[in-house]
Amino acid sequence: MRLSELGRLQEAKIQLVNIEEGGYRKRLRELGFLNGTVIVPLYRALFGGIRAYWLKGSVIAVRDSDADRIIVEVTNDAI
């Protein structure tokens, strides 16, 4: 399942970050986008296109176009 398809407050584990190596990928990694990290979608932006997620103790916003390329596995239906 893609990260972008995840419902609000649906807990999941990151399985694969399908983004080419580079500055952006590195930044994601530093923020905790690693295989196995637990991630929970929180809320969308006013004009859309981007969503805030809870992972590793902080709230991080990622664009939907990038969230499309992050594959996750649902661990728990709602928390």
Binding site: R27, L46, G57
Partner: protein, 621 residues
Amino acid sequence: MMQYDYEIALAGNPNVGKSTLFNQLTGMNQHTGNWSGKTVENAYGYHRHGGKVYKIVDLPGTYSLSSGSKEEEIAFRYIREIREQVLVIVVSALSLERSLGLVIQMLSLTTRAVLCVNMIDEAARAGMVIDEDELHIQLGIPVVLCSSRYSPTLLRLYETIYDLCDGRIRTYRAQSLKGDEIRGILGTAECSDIVEGIVQKICKYSIRYQKTRVPSTKLDRLLTSKLTGIPLMLLLYGVLFFITAAAANVPSEWLGVLFAFLKGYIVAFLQLLHAPDVLVSILIDGVYTTLSWVVAVMLPPMAIFFPLFGILEDSGYLPRVAFNLDRAFSKAHAHPKQSMTMAMGMGCNACGVMGCRIIDTDRERKIAIVTNNFIPCNGRLPALIAIVTIFFGTTGSALYNSLIVSAVMVAVFAFAVLITMLCSRLLADTIYKGEPSGFVLELPPYRKPDILRTVIRSFVDKTWKVLLKAVYVAAPAGAVIWCLTHIEIGSVRILDYCVGFLDPLGAILGLDGVIVLAFLLGFPANETVIPVMLMSYMSTAVMMDYSSYSELSAILAANGWTALTAVCFLILCVCHYPCSTACLTIWQETKSLKTTLLSVLLPTAVGMLLCCIVNLFHTVF
């Protein structure tokens, strides 16, 4: 430079309360500058205890230690060079798991460190339990759980720092952290894999979660939903706008009165010294008048806007604005944080340019800098309002007029925003070409801002610096304007020669030579555009302001102004080169001649082109 006994550096992620801790340690005793050769702020201050002076350095907040950004490079170099210094690694308890990676990277470079796990109160509320001793054993350095807002916990941190400086505490290099292995490969994927493994192991023994970990999102959902988010954002921008544009006028007038009052004394003083009349005239009618104009108009909005913006910044709301507006800015291939620098530009473009520091990628930062001047600042606003009122708001009842004027002003700003977005896109596709940096934004928890400190620091660090720059350029410019209006060649003022010379250009733009010259002479300060225009139309030698719109209207009509002239004036007023203060700021912020020139040329070219097109349409149809 003060003598000090020990040097202590604060390092860590952004948004973990590092600055609050820095403020607590140094009090008001702090200084800012730039790291050598970089436009990254270098804040340092001094802390006294037991007869010793501790120099505190606030390293830029980073997420890792490889040299990806300017901030990371500075932090990396500093930590690599540590000999006698002590490193205080500040992390947020809430995001301890994420931050430990950075901690481990830092500990591969030095062990003269203490880990400060901040915001422990917030973590406790979130049901997190952190085992301090376990962390200490695993990391080999002292660990202090604290809350930088709660002093008793801070005192423990202070004691630990003193002990570490004096050598009363020993640290050791924990073999399990694999420092030797990762030191050479910091920032690579391989490094992050190794570090992640270590972090998992440490967390397993030292962090426990008692209940659900997801924070409350009530406030955020209020601010990001369509129903409530848009009104709240508009309200906020409206208040910002109102305060900078309207509320600043009152102190501006006071300053104007004060300067007029002082003028009499300065003239008297100069005459007491038997200064020649010409010199008195240059100094008073030229330099002093221009200078007081610039200060009176620029100081109040800056003094109001900077602290207000600082408070918003501290509260954590600004990242939410960037988050909300991301879609529009990603279409313009610009950085979402540009919306904030544009709002800052409304107060003062030099402020806006300085504010572009919040944009962390070089390419997008430059786009924001170059296009910042399209947003009319407080200095241009009075001229815009005057012209709009005269040409669009005199036909109906008072209510009708004020509605029309408001609507046209909104249209002017909408035009300014549209031009900004279009030009940002244009720049992103041509000169500042590059992969639009993938955007990932941390939305930090909301915090109560420290209002008093923000007000004082913003005045010392920002307002005062911008004001000084304005004074540097306004003074000589005042002398130049004086020469143009006072020196006659064959009984014709130089000013009038210039007007004659510029008339053809003015005609192409739908304007006249006087207006073009007024814009040129408005380089040191946009406020002077209308006064210089009047000086020229009325053939007076001293810059004058209008006492009423009807008076101004009569003067303009007598000099051949039409609705076309008004529209072209509005366009050129929105789209022209930045004022000298802003130019100087652009140069200082980028140290790039290309960027500075582009910031001058692009808006001017756009403005002239649009004026030509409007004029052409008008002539043809």
